[in-house]
Subunit: 523 residues, 2 copies
């Protein structure tokens, strides 16, 4: 059997740039996982882990020019965006180093023995231990921040778990470069380089999720790919947690009062959010509820103007470009759907931004089987294919749904599956909690999303302690987050020690608290 | 179609006592779930939830005589044990009411906006919201503490989730009685009674896990039943978390020094733990590593003596009795296995306690396919069926494995799957952290179990803030706990609010902190 080559491709031309690697065989995946498993003990020391994460951040920053050039050559995302993404990535590595130092993620709880209770309570000391080897599936659209040196890798290493990354085929050279930097950082911190490995190839990704020594997985990508891996993780003899971020429509609601107040600002802001990164963000607003009537027309007018002025952009690969063009065509062909600015081909290798519109009534009536409970008139009587408007279309396009009243807006929201984000644009009066639909909208979208944004845009997911980047399925396959301070929790499991003598406890749990960790003590 | 009757059966005689209910049809399951879903909003108020949980505890306590009598009649667990179990159950309900009052489970995190950061950080406020309707699958062996009014029900209600319990066929009358008390408590607290429902029947249990409005499930039972439900939960169009406690061997290691020091105490203690509740605890020690030689013989001698003096007991139902007798027979027939005190039939409706022994060498050599990585000589060359000794056998029996040295003990531990608990019996010198195998044993069993016990017994799982009752698969299908303060976490998901005006935030997240909740603020 000959090895399958892995090519780095220039999306601006569609041409192969260089052969970067070969796809990993079963045996190579097995070797990478076993080597990572064997190296896990070296990650037990929190001080070493924190030093490793900081060394990795430093090395990536020192290599910024090289990394950005490599990533731009195979993603066409541009040096500006990629420089920002690298800063986000190294900031994330350092934030997890700080989290390791602080130790709150161990969620230490200590219960003193209490013989006076019925039944008597023994001494219990609980903390969290790393799961073991973690599989990370890199995202197409973030060659750094959600790929080899990205959030899942950083949080898993911070937790003490070795990582085997399945590289994304859109940026294999960047993946190899980043992996080599991470491994150099590991060695610099006194760790075996095997704590981070990269494999290429679709089949290698499947081997990885099925490997007995893999204990958990993180994924950012499509519903189809993510669900296949989720199913494989669940079907294992020993099932493992699969933290997948699969797809999100990221609904936006513009209230009538907000449209009346600042239609132009909203329309222009929407255009900016939809076209950021050529529409290739998982939190791109994909469905926007805009009121019918003159104020709503001003919103769409501003959107039309801004999108019309947007330069065509290059998508991450040619398959995505074809899918985008086909996806737009399929949606635009539906009854009652129009395309005031037609998105689609912007040249041989680029695409143009645009948007589609549909009346809320047509969307609700044309949608079947979305949610029998929504009471939205779907009724199972057979629709006309409008449910595709409720699916994510990757690229610079959004669907504007024009609604007549709050009941229609609520009915459209009732058709939606889970989302990473939901955004409301409210008037100044509505933000003061007075009259208007704001409170009901907040309550409804809270059931639909992992993050609720008011008077902003969902793109730009801050790396912050309170962040939550997840949401009901298919936004995520678990209730954990892939961004922010609590992302480390997905790679840990609790263990309680009952009546274990102090000398035999892990240092984290000893009475004298030699590591100075935060703990909750029940006397 | 005629309704299938649900009978309450006396396990002491095998006779039907009374028809309690009928099995729920698909339509009835659907109605119960929809009614629970419709009632979920009423659980949003934390003060009302806490009052409800306390009212339920009070009503159960007031009805103690009635509840204990009902449970004893169909489980034969005896009034003493059941009185204790009821106290545990009501204590648990009150502990979750306290947790609701305290509010730490909301894990509130607030990040102040910081425009000076690159990129600027918006204001983020995160807490957790209830998932929605929870399905609880009651356990056979705890008609109260892990059934209708048990831990999963209490923690789900505390989280704000309505509950539909699939009753266990071993105690349908107790289930109905407890459900009626819970529903009375709901009404007394001003809640609709539909926040708790009970359904009967195997098919109803499957309908429940597949229902689109069910958002999560808790289960305590067998590997076979639990895995089938886990698979169904994962295969849904929208997969849901399935928190199952499936099976555990609960290994015990007696070190040579501990045996030398207090063999008789250990042997007698082991007998007590193995026979408690007629061996029907999920944390019953099922595999005990005892050193070869005279000190080990003293341990087994004491075990023999104590088990020989144990009265036969009645198992929960006749199918369990048949499985127990068949399971013992299968294990006793293996090469190198002996039965110093033969467990098995203790009369027409009861069983006698006993134990089996096997040399570690024979167990390791006779085991195939347990874990290719254990390096324990399994080697895939075909064993002789000893792997059944590594499976839980429900009832009053344990397997004593005699080991020659620490390497053999470690090899046996290396064969094991995940466990709820692992227990070490150490000498006084070993507990001081000096010489001896203690530290290595602690490290090894930490990888195998959710709770590590030293110089005690795993039976008796304290309801306490730091408790963890879970463990690697098949002990549990998730990394959450079914007992203790953090059990509430399984029914919640985080939501982050970005730049949401104070007046529109949920009260839990408002700047003035009107509910006085604990929060972590990043300035």
């Amino acid at each position: 059997m000959t090895a399958t080559p892995v090519w780095s491709v220039d999306p601006r031309t569609g041409k192969q740039r260089e052969q970067v690697a070969v796809e990993a065989t079963s045996r190579e995946v097995d070797e990478a996982v076993r080597a990572a498993h064997a190296a896990r003990g070296a990650l037990a020391d929190a001080v070493v882990r924190a030093a490793f994460l900081r060394a990795a951040a430093d090395l990536l920053d020192e290599s910024a020019a090289h990394v950005v050039e490599a990533a731009d050559a195979e993603t066409a995302l541009g040096p500006g965006r990629l420089t920002g993404e690298l800063a986000r990535t190294t900031g994330q590595l350092r934030a997890f180093a700080d989290a390791v130092d602080e130790g709150a993620y161990l969620d230490i709880r200590i219960d003193r023995a209490d013989p006076a209770l019925t039944p008597p309570r023994p001494e219990l000391r609980r903390y969290k231990v790393p799961l073991g080897v973690v599989a990370v599936y890199a995202a197409s659209n973030f060659p750094l921040a959600f790929s080899v040196p990205g959030g899942d890798t950083a949080s898993a290493l911070a937790a003490g778990c070795p990582v085997v990354v399945k590289a994304h085929p859109d940026h294999p050279a960047t993946s190899e470069l980043c992996a080599s930097l991470l491994r150099r950082a590991a060695v610099a911190a006194g760790l075996p380089p095997e704590v981070v490995a990269v494999v290429h190839g679709f089949d290698a990704g499947l081997e990885l999720i099925r490997h007995p020594l893999v204990t958990a997985a993180g994924f950012t990508g499509s519903i189809r790919g993510g669900r296949a891996l989720f199913d494989a993780a669940a079907a294992r003899p020993v099932p493992i947690p699969f933290h997948g971020e699969l797809g999100s429509l990221n609904p936006v609601v513009v209230t009538a009062a907000a449209a009346a107040e600042r239609a132009e600002e909203i329309g222009a802001g929407l255009a900016g959010s939809v076209t950021l990164g050529v529409g290739q963000f998982c939190v791109k607003p994909g469905l926007v509820l805009v009121p019918e009537g003159a104020d709503g027309d001003r919103v769409t007018g501003a959107l039309t103007k801004a999108l019309g002025e947007t330069e065509p952009g290059v998508l991450l690969d040619h398959r995505m470009r074809e899918n985008f063009i086909a996806g737009v065509r399929e949606r635009a062909a539906l009854a009652a759907v129009t395309a005031p600015v037609t998105p689609g081909s912007g040249g041989e290798h680029s695409v143009g931004a645009g948007y589609l519109t549909v009346p809320a009534r047509a969307l609700v009536e044309g949608t079947v089987g979305a949610d029998a409970d929504a009471g939205a008139g779907a009724g199972g009587s057979g629709g006309s294919g409008h449910e595709v408007l409720l699916e994510e279309c990757f690229g610079p396009v959004t669907v504007v749904v024009r609604y007549a009243d709050q009941g229609e807006a609520a009915a459209v929201l009732g058709l939606l599956s889970g989302n990473l984000s939901a955004t409301l644009h409210l008037s100044a009066a509505e933000t003061e909690g007075g009259a208007g639909p704001a409170a009901e909208l907040i309550a409804q979208v809270t059931t639909l999303a992992g993050r609720v944004v008011v008077n902003g845009w969902p793109t730009g997911v801050a790396v912050a302690p309170a962040q939550h980047h997840g949401g009901p399925y298919p936004a995520a396959t678990s209730h954990s987050t892939s961004v922010g301070g609590t992302a480390i929790e997905r790679w840990l499991r609790p263990v309680a020690y009952q009546s274990v003598p102090d000398a035999l406890l892990p240092p984290e749990l000893r009475e004298a608290n030699p590591l100075g960790l935060p703990r909750r003590v029940t006397p």
